[in-house]
């Protein structure tokens, strides 16, 4: 599970202008995030470095933009855990980033 998580976050399409690629990547990451159990989230978040936390926050907010049936609840848990590690700065970086996920 953890491996899928890391693989999904690696090589994220930050620099591309192709919207289709971005949406595919978002879909994959969202699938991984929603299939985590609540107890495992904290461990996954702790395994990320500073840039990884920022990237995770970007995906969480992207996931908030298009809510599906059960996604918001689990995304909120991811948000809470990532916030504990990254602080308000990580949210500011999501808002000010010019290269979106």
């Amino acid at each position: 599970m953890l491996q899928a998580f890391h693989t999904a976050l690696r090589n994220s399409p930050l620099n591309t202008k192709n919207q289709a690629i971005k949406e595919r990547a978002q879909g994959v990451v969202l699938k991984v995030l929603t299939s985590f159990k609540s107890s495992e989230i904290e461990q996954a978040v702790n395994s990320l470095d500073r840039n990884g936390i920022d990237l995770l926050m970007k995906y969480v907010y992207k996931g908030f933009e298009k809510p599906t049936e059960n996604s918001s609840a689990i995304l909120l848990q991811w948000h809470e855990k990532a916030l504990a590690v990254g602080g308000l700065g990580s949210i500011v970086r999501v808002l000010t980033a010019r290269k979106t996920v």
């Binding site: 500073r50 602080g87 000010t96 010019r98």
Partner: protein, 369 residues
């Protein structure tokens, strides 16, 4: 840690005189008020009314005792004290947007103004015409210049702008000075030459500061980052993504330590490790206040859990000294190499003076290198 509340409005900018007995502030309007320290209290002694727009920058030259102010009315005035009155001299900046920041050069023979018209105006006094002349640095600035700082050699100028970049220009004016000697930033320095440009981070550069030796420059951006540039390390940038809200002001207090403050209302210490080329967070510089924590009753706990899904109380009052964002930091005593006191002003209309010695003793794991 002395805190003095001047007004209910934000203090837009402030400047100290040489012996730190007088303070010039702009109380968020068109005027500049000068306060004189009398014991523990501050008395208003002068009101400088000449600007037609909000005063956005004030700088007080310590040796020549002149004040330069710039405002949103696209003008700058140089004030000299004649007798007991401050007399203004208009400086035509030839800009068509508001001026945002102003700084005297270390030798006080010129000053730089950053403005919204994407230009830095370098102004110097021409003796024959008895008039302040200004020259522009335009390329390659793409947006408002928010902050400026001079290098100790009186020639190099660091500028932080809203196009997310920090740049170092040469502001060499041959009419007022001789050719500068080479520095780690470069050796050929004609006017307007871009010596260095940072790669894009993603935030407006709110504040920028040279270290005392001029070999390092640090800036803070709106994406909650602090970056430091060391000229001796072949332009490697050390940057730190901060965990708090964006910082608005930064200054060096020793060659290796920075104090920065911003929307989180308290100053923070950052340390630069030269051997590793990295910036680390040194700690919150906040005097812990004794707050009375009454225990929560069980009923309140359940209410909290029901309403906010958490069992802790959230304090509504900020526990910091400043009750609103800090917008400017200035070194009062000790210079940028061995600062012993610095002061912060903020949007809560208050000014507080921080003493490094008492901070070091109050916060035990604070290490200022």
């Amino acid at each position: 840690m002395a805190y003095h509340s001047f007004l209910l409005e934000p203090i837009s900018c402030h400047a100290w005189n040489k012996d730190r007995t007088q303070l010039a502030i702009c109380p968020n309007n068109h005027e500049v008020h000068i306060y004189k320290k009398a014991g523990e209290k501050w008395n208003k002694v002068h009101e400088l009314k000449e600007h037609n727009g909000q005063v956005t920058g004030i700088d007080w030259a310590p040796e020549s005792n002149r004040i330069v102010t710039c405002g949103t009315d696209r003008n700058a005035y140089v004030w000299t004290l004649k007798g007991n009155v401050w007399k203004p001299t208009l400086v035509i900046l030839r800009i068509n947007r508001a001026a945002r920041c102003v700084k005297w050069s270390p030798k006080e023979n010129k000053f730089a103004v950053g403005s919204g018209s994407r230009v830095i105006s370098i102004c110097y006094f021409e003796q024959e015409n008895d008039w302040w002349v200004c020259k522009h640095i335009k390329k390659p600035i793409r947006s408002t210049v928010l902050s400026l700082d001079w290098h100790p050699n009186n020639v190099l100028l660091a500028a932080g702008a809203c196009d997310f970049k920090c740049r170092i220009f040469s502001a060499y004016i041959k009419e007022v000075e001789e050719r500068p000697s080479p520095t780690p930033w470069g050796s050929k320095m004609p006017f307007g030459e871009l010596m260095f440009e940072s790669s894009s981070s993603c935030g407006w550069v709110h504040s920028i500061c040279f270290s005392e030796s001029g070999n390092r420059v640090a800036w803070v951006g709106h994406d909650s980052t602090v970056c430091l540039w060391d000229a001796n390390k072949k332009m490697a940038v050390a940057s730190l993504s901060v965990e708090t809200l964006p910082l608005l002001a930064v200054t060096f207090i020793t060659e290796n330590s920075l104090v920065a403050a911003g929307h989180d209302c308290y100053p923070m210490l950052f340390t630069y490790d030269e051997s590793q080329g990295s910036l680390t967070f040194g700690g919150k510089l906040e005097v812990p206040k004794q707050s009375s924590q009454r225990g929560l009753t069980a009923r309140e706990r359940f209410q909290n859990l029901d309403k906010k899904a958490s069992t802790e109380t959230n304090n509504v009052m900020l526990e910091t000294l400043h009750k609103n964002s800090i917008s400017q930091i200035s070194v009062i005593a000790g210079g940028k190499a061995k600062c012993t006191q610095f002061c912060t002003t903020g949007m809560d209309g208050g000014l507080s003076i921080w003493d490094i010695k008492s901070l070091e003793s109050a916060l035990k794991d604070l290490k200022i290198k």
